[in-house]
Amino acid sequence: MTSALPAPFTVAVTTATVLGCLAYLAAAARLRTRGDAWPYGRDALFCAGGAVLVAGVSEPWGAAPPFTAHMLTHLCVGMLAPLLLVLGRPLTLLLRTAPVTLRRGLVTLTRSRWATAPALPPVAALLDFGGLWLLYRTPLLSVSHHSPWLNTLVHVHILLAGLLFSFGLLALDPVRHRPGYGLRAAVLLTAGTAHAVLAKSLYAAGPPGTSFGAADLHLASQVMYYGGDAVELALAAVVAYQWYRSEGRALRRAGRARHSGATAAATRP
């Protein structure tokens, strides 16, 4: 099959993911023995993300036609796994448990304007969805099928850009500047549109230089379209929940201020 991933890449990603999950669990356990709170749900989300990533790169798609199989891998590696991994807030955990010297370096990095620029939602979206358009609307995909290195590079980009997009959009971990809700909604809308348009256009015409069957293209196109919907919906739900929580905090602050104002007025002689 032409779209199969190079074996060294699969082995490297699987090893790194398993080690990453073990390190995460160890760090979370240390935090809890220290007496700090760290919800178990985060451990579960991070490990689920790791599992999806490993499943994605091992390509267990059986008899699925090549382009559909490729699309399922993309959905796992570039969208679902990054979302789950980012929901585990790995950077926050690292900042709390790493040795002091490493922590200092990390803090400097998360406060630096240049290091955090790629995580700004519009930039991250451009890297992620721009890359996707390049892959499917230039001969890049057909060329990468004949070059294991390029194929590896493409998949590394898909994973990193996916992580960056979820990381920047959800802004769960502490970085220099938290983007506003309006910007995040606009980026999500634009990215969702770009994704849906690209998915539908693949229904009619496959990537240049490839010769996938019509049935394969149709299935892959719909996998991309509806799979993208599911992840978009999840991202939107997380951002909306963050907004709801922050409004609640503002409301409680206002209520407290009014309350203390009223008692002050009542006690005044």
Binding site: Y244, G248, R252, R256
Partner: protein
């Protein structure tokens, strides 16, 4: 005002959801892509497809927030819902199906009755929504819905 906005957003999301599940997935009347679509049509379709999911999420979370504040006006919310439902369906039925030719309601049949029913329902929903909104604005809202914002019981 937030009641209406929440209703409109939820309405758009619901209309898109019904469109997708009933007509695309269950009845298979609509086609995913019938290849007569223009590029503008594809972009418009993508924008509305992505936007309607966001509208659904935003509408629901706004509803929760308005309720928490104790400023929900149910009549306004329902009027917004009708406006959102009707607005989306009319846009879909006229501009997207006809103007941009994204896809038709059904294939291999005389389209006229389908188009009239589709757009007729849309107009009825819009009228109902507008009437509800006028009535809700004219009548003073019930006392309970315009009192002090309820402070959440959880205080820290």
């Amino acid at each position: 005002m937030r009641s209406v906005l929440s209703g409109v957003l939820t309405g758009i999301g619901t209309a898109a959801f019904i469109d997708e599940t009933v007509f695309h997935q269950l009845l298979h009347w609509h086609h995913f892509y019938d290849k007569s679509t223009t590029d503008v049509g594809l972009v418009s379709d993508g924008l509305f497809h992505a936007g309607s999911w966001l509208a659904m999420v935003a509408g629901l979370v706004l509803y929760a927030d308005v309720r928490r504040r104790g400023t929900l006006v149910p009549r306004k919310w329902w009027s917004g819902l009708c406006l959102g439902l009707g607005g989306f369906q009319l846009y879909d039925g006229t501009f997207q199906h006809k103007g941009l030719g994204i896809h038709q309601i059904r294939y291999g049949v005389d389209l006229a009755p389908y188009d009239w029913t589709w757009n007729g329902i849309a107009v009825l929903l819009l009228v109902a929504g507008a009437l509800l909104l006028v009535r809700a604005s004219r009548r003073p809202p019930r006392a309970a819905s315009r009192t002090e914002p309820r402070t959440p019981s959880r205080t820290r």
